[in-house]
């Protein structure tokens, strides 16, 4: 039995795109979508682990609209062996997503380890990976900056908000949320991209998965733009006066000093 590495990836809007909100809860999707950047670190770590383990397989899993297949192709160009696409309409919340990921993974095989990104750059919920661990009844660590596997024990360093690192030891299977510091993703070269076009993807309709009825759910009420276009402000006059005015603005208006 090969060692089974699953990597959960998400199809997200490019943060550089011009986001337009349509009727409160949806965005105009005629923009560039990419693989969630933290998921690139997850794929990279999975691929490195596969080469260490030897007899191992990396399977990328995504839950998303039909267009999310592009993100699976990106994951496979970066080295995943095959993909599973759970096709949905509107994006499910993190509770349903975690249940769907669990169902899709268990229907495919018995995971030895699961990698995800530490969060997604669109919804930024930072919950899915913990919920996935809970749903599977396995340990999880997020914002992982270093990873080591010895036998069936994973040792990770998890970056904490305050700047410290927690060292966590977990038995397999477990869920690892990759942070930016974990590795430097290697981007694919054209021959990798060509190979990825031929790798298999299994498509599973979301409705066909038995995810039960979660006891709670999150409802999206309204999307609002995070910030309006920033306006540069020119402070005229001689340098001394301009500096005084700048300090006053930073203190009184921006309240940053």
């Amino acid at each position: 039995m090969p060692f089974k590495i699953y990597v959960c990836v998400k199809h997200v809007p490019d943060s550089a795109a011009n986001i337009t909100i349509l009727d409160k809860t949806r965005i105009e999707e005629k923009i560039t979508f990419i693989i969630n950047p933290f998921d690139e670190n997850a794929i990279e770590e999975a691929v490195q682990l596969r080469s260490k383990v030897g007899d191992a397989e990396v399977v990328a899993v995504t839950i998303g609209k039909p267009a999310a297949v592009e993100t699976l192709r990106s994951a496979m160009a970066m080295g995943a062996d095959r993909g599973i696409h759970v096709v949905t309409g509107d994006p499910p919340d993190s509770i349903a997503t975690a249940r769907a990921l669990k169902a899709a993974i268990l229907a495919d095989g018995a995971p030895d380890i699961i990698f995800t990104g530490k969060g997604s750059i669109d919804s930024e919920g930072f919950q899915t990976m913990f919920r996935l661990g809970a749903a599977l009844g396995v340990p999880a660590a997020n914002n992982v900056a270093s990873f080591r596997l010895e036998g069936r024990t994973a040792t990770v360093e998890s970056e904490l908000e305050a700047g410290g690192r927690a060292v966590i030891r977990m038995p397999l299977p477990c869920v690892i949320g990759a942070g930016k510091a974990l590795n430097k993703p290697r981007y694919p070269i054209l021959p990798d991209i060509m190979k990825a076009r031929k790798k298999p993807i299994r498509t599973v309709p979301m409705e066909s998965l038995d995810i039960g009825t979660p006891p709670a759910s999150v409802q999206l009420i309204e999307l609002r733009p995070f910030s309006d276009r920033r306006q540069a402000k020119l402070i005229p006059g001689p340098v001394e006066k301009a500096v005084e005015e700048l300090v006053r603005l930073l203190r009184e208006e921006a309240k940053v000093i």
């Binding site: 337009t20 923009i31 592009e70 290697r186 054209l190």
Partner: protein, 445 residues
């Protein structure tokens, strides 16, 4: 009383500034107006600033080669003026034109010989010696990655290249424009920023001046349209001018990608500017050891002509707005991936999108107009950055001659180049010309 000038130049981009500079040197009291906040922040800000000599017409080659001489002699051109931001630098990488079915390079070679451009004829082996990461298999015709044939293995090889050792690019196009603004100011030229021209005033078919959005007016017997991608809008403001042009201009969207050089290869230090019509792209080194990848707009690619105001406001969505699109990111990077198989392509697009001020035959209009005193230097079609200093001198002399009574339409002005021993029929760039069928109808001009 409206403030009066001898010449008002609409636009302070890389074309508007040298025109003002040369007019100011001749003694004209000039004013450049621009709706951006500084010089060179229009489409010039996104230019690849490649300085190459290969064009499909002999005059095109002559002008570009002349332009190259200016860039190599930048400090002198500016008359020793100081710019507090420093001076732009010409990066002399050398320029490779790959011989392929996509580029009529024989015509280029003939033009090189006629003009006296220095070049070398390179074999495939010689190209690979210079650029070891290149794979010179042939991929013609250009396709998109969405087309399954894009992925076919290539069997043929390219023939080699024409190499022009004097080619390269300018490291900071905005700075180069700023340099020319400072040089103009040193001769008394004025600049007004953050102002939008909304009307061109005239009386009895003689231009009188301009009106800004805030209602203020400036008068001059000479007004020059150098508005880049907005050129057609300015021509439409001047009564009868747009209608009097046989060649029209419109704004064409163009994406430029930044993709990291393959590991272990110093493209920034060792690489060449390359025109690769076999794959419909051109590329040059960029800071950060990047490949900067532009498109030669091959037939299979969609051409998008947005309204420039909507475009700069970020409207229209993927493939139409001012952000890179996933499809084009893949198209241009994967095409380069054919030439450089070790190129790593990130998942997240990086680069710039801007507009070409594209003319019907991809050759600019440097001309007078049907209105007395109204001139235009427009339709730069993605390939005139390199010519900017030449255009400045040529336009200033054309304007001066016309103001002194020359009937340029009947008796075209002959411009004497400053570096090359030849003259130039400025009628070549006439608004009244028929479409020039010698053109490549692409950024190659």
């Amino acid at each position: 009383m409206n403030k009066k000038y001898d010449a008002i130049i609409i636009g302070a981009g890389v074309i508007g500034c040298p025109i003002a500079y040369e007019l100011a040197k001749m003694g004209y009291k000039t004013l450049n107006v621009d709706k951006n906040s500084d010089a060179g922040l229009g489409s010039t800000a996104a230019t690849c600033a490649i300085i190459r000599a290969h064009y499909s017409t002999e005059d095109g080659v002559a002008m570009a080669y002349e332009g190259m001489k200016y860039w190599k002699d930048w400090e002198n051109y500016l008359g020793g003026v100081k710019d507090e931001k420093g001076l732009a630098k010409f990066m002399n990488t050398g320029s490779i034109l790959l011989k392929s079915k996509g580029h009529d390079w024989r015509k280029v070679k003939k033009n090189y010989d006629a003009v006296g451009v220095q070049y070398e004829d390179w074999s495939v082996e010689r190209v690979v010696k210079a650029a070891p990461v290149y794979d010179l298999h042939e991929h013609w015709p250009v396709r998109r990655p969405e087309d399954s044939e894009f992925w076919n293995e290539s069997t043929g090889m390219l023939e080699g290249a024409l190499y022009c050792p004097e080619g390269g690019y300018v490291n900071d196009p905005v700075l180069s424009t700023h340099n020319m603004m400072r040089a103009t100011q040193a001769h008394g030229g004025e600049f007004l920023f953050n102002v939008e021209v909304v009307a061109v005033r005239s009386e009895a078919n003689q231009v009188k001046g301009i009106t800004l959005k805030d209602g203020s007016q400036f008068d001059a017997p000479v007004v020059v349209n150098v508005a880049g991608p907005h050129s057609f809008k300015i021509n439409q403001m001047a009564k009868g001018v747009w209608e009097g042009c046989n060649i029209k201009t419109k704004a064409l969207r163009h994406e430029v990608m930044h993709c990291p050089s393959p590991e272990g290869y110093n493209y920034y230090g060792d690489g060449y500017h390359t025109s690769d019509a076999d794959l419909g792209i051109y590329y040059r080194p960029e800071v950060g050891n990047m490949f900067l990848i532009g498109s030669e707009d091959p037939k299979c690619d969609p051409k998008v002509y947005p309204d420039p105001d909507d475009f700069y406001a970020g409207k229209g969505g993927a493939g139409e707005d001012n952000q890179l699109s996933e499809a084009q990111w893949k198209a241009q990077c994967y095409r380069l991936g054919r030439r450089v198989p070790t190129l790593r392509v990130p998942n997240q697009p990086r680069g710039v999108v801007d507009l070409y001020d594209c003319s019907d035959d991809w050759i600019p209009i440097y001309d007078k107009s049907d209105m007395k005193g109204f001139y235009m230097a427009i339709g730069t079609s993605g390939n005139q950055y390199k010519n900017a200093p030449v255009v400045g001198a040529m336009m200033a002399e054309l304007i001066d001659a016309c103001q002194k009574g020359l009937d340029h339409d009947a008796n075209p002005f002959q411009y004497k180049l400053k570096y090359l021993p030849r003259s130039f029929n400025v009628g070549f760039f006439s608004r009244k010309r028929e479409i020039n069928t010698n053109s490549s109808f692409s950024v190659n001009g």
